[in-house]
Symmetry: C3
């Protein structure tokens, strides 16, 4: 359904063209997100100032919005950025961190959803929260962690992607990506990755980088999630714990070659 060749080609294009990626992201992962984008070969811009977001979106290849640490000021910056990206046709990816945990996050996520993100990347609970009609729901989420497996929301996500004309990428033990027609699963990664803060945010940022070089958003999201999962898998072999793992992931992203991606990829 997805050709491995298209993923290899996307990585090659990313490395050859160094796409500019504008990030409005949370304060916890800002450093690590910038480093992951630099490592894989993109050029990160970090800014949440309404004074300059439109200008930066115009020169950027894509936009990443991550709601992990919101304030009323940054909600407004995100709204302006999403609106401008939507209006000018710039591809953008939304990461609704903890959408199921609080009303503030849920409302912000749904507000941003109106500006037609090219990809929405979250865990199973976040995807269910943002695309269902329910309120913030403690039964499927625990803080920012999902109590659901990705498979639990696969059908729901496929239908939601179709209705919203977007790509939905759900990370977990098995990653699921769907555009409402196609649905792919990635079986790479390592459990220790859940012990490093912001690995999901990194998957989102890498998807943003691929959106800058790949028009088929399903392929871009699959390439983003696969790049991180495989880097994490390789990084874990020599990691004594999550400290070394976080560091090794950056090294592996830097050393990632199209052939490595193809060799380790477990796609179904």
């Amino acid at each position: 359904m997805i050709q491995t060749e298209s993923l290899k080609d996307s990585l090659l294009r990313l490395q050859n063209t160094t796409p500019l990626v504008l990030n409005i992201t949370n304060a916890v992962v800002m450093n690590n997100t910038a480093n992951a984008l630099l490592a894989i070969g993109a050029s990160p811009l970090m800014s949440d100032a309404t004074e300059e977001t439109s200008t930066l979106i115009d020169i950027a290849s894509s936009l990443v919005i991550n709601i992990g640490t919101l304030t009323s000021r940054t909600v407004m910056a995100m709204k302006c950025a999403a609106s401008h990206a939507c209006q000018t046709g710039r591809p953008w990816v939304l990461d609704p961190v903890g959408a199921g945990a609080t009303r503030f996050r849920l409302d912000t996520s749904r507000l941003l959803l109106e500006y037609k993100p090219t990809v929405v990347r979250g865990n199973a609970a976040e995807i269910q929260a943002i695309f269902s009609s329910q309120g913030a729901n403690d039964n499927t989420t625990r803080g920012v962690d999902s109590l659901l497996a990705t498979e639990d929301v696969a059908d729901f996500a496929k239908e939601a992607a179709r209705q919203h004309n977007t790509v939905i990428a759900i990370t977990g033990a098995t990653d699921i990506i769907t555009d409402g027609e196609r649905l792919v699963r990635i079986d790479n990664g390592h459990p220790m990755m859940a012990r490093v803060t912001g690995t999901g945010c990194t998957a989102t940022a890498l998807t943003g980088a691929y959106l800058g070089v790949q028009d088929d958003a399903l392929i871009a999201a699959t390439a983003g999630l696969a790049s991180l999962a495989i880097a994490g898998e390789l990084a874990s072999t020599s990691a004594r714990g999550p400290g070394t793992l976080q560091l090794n992931i950056l090294d592996e992203l830097y050393n990632l070659k199209p052939e490595t991606l193809a060799r380790y990829l477990k796609l179904t």
Copy 2:
């Protein structure tokens, strides 16, 4: 006075129950704090938005407030959070970073103190500043570093803990923890830890994690400080400098076992 068994038991409970810890903390250490909490087995939430702090405190096991990088907005968020935690009986720990350095930090620390923190964790100068009746005082502090040894304020802290009905945890070459009745000293750690930013903040966050599983706040604070000191001690053996040390500490926290804690602990 404190049984090693109670510390081992606390770590075991932490690892088995993954307590949710809400952090309103400074921008410098946010990533590292989240990673330290994940490494030891807790689940970190990072948020300083008044729109959601009450909701998050209600689902969290404990709250950490760290004043390292204040703005008028975050002072208000901290006040709301401390007030809600106090009112609902949620255990919380206050880290008055640089309380002796500026009037702004001192006033904020004392304001928060009114909401009865379960534990106050600081260096010797910070503890003296917040609990004395004096103003910001350059003679005991240099920026955010203490010019006093923990022993210099041991008696003062014991009396302050008694008067304020709180636990005071003072980090330094020797750590001191007191609830006004009991007073324990920890002689673990490594001097190079002072060359990594935010090690004190990590001690505070780990104390917060233990407060989520241990009702005796003296034991929780002792477990928090001992976990970091021992992880730092083990991490230093293979560290070429503070870069490797910071990373190794996360790995050691991840690999920390109750027996390791008991074996290396130097408690008096």
Copy 3:
């Protein structure tokens, strides 16, 4: 033109006196900046609260202002800090990150320039943007990256430094530092450093540390840039990628000796 002895002497003084360095810097590099300052032997203070900046400048040896992630609030904090430093004769260094990318950054940089920074540290495009009379210009910058080599703006920078009575430090493959009379070049470093976020910001912060112990600002800036370039060069020998590199740089800064600086320095 610059004696290596003066650089060795500056490092020795830095290590012996632990200068306090106040940083108003961007959210991406805050942790790494604090760690780099601690590693080399300085004492970092991080604060952008107008409530306390004047107090902190008074106790600090020097001030670092970095505009990497601006908001209207932090622009005001920077203005107050620069004004106070200028008025009280405290040495300070300005890092106009992305000055050529947006009007917001350019205007802020030029506003701060009025408060007579002791050193301005940027890449070639940023230096040209801030000191020329032109508007934000896409032809010389791509996001926060320069499309110009440092040599392209060497003469321009020398003249600008003379006119503004400041020191201009330009980082790139070859670093250039000039005070309008003297001009030195540093040929150290490693290309992989460009794949770690905020290496330029670290060069700025280290320059700030040296300004606290060295009155000759040309020597201070040269020592700052040389320390990072040599640490990066040494760090790269055992780095598998940018993750390891970032970490190794902190270790090398920690282990940097005056003799190491002298042995590896390629100054022309």
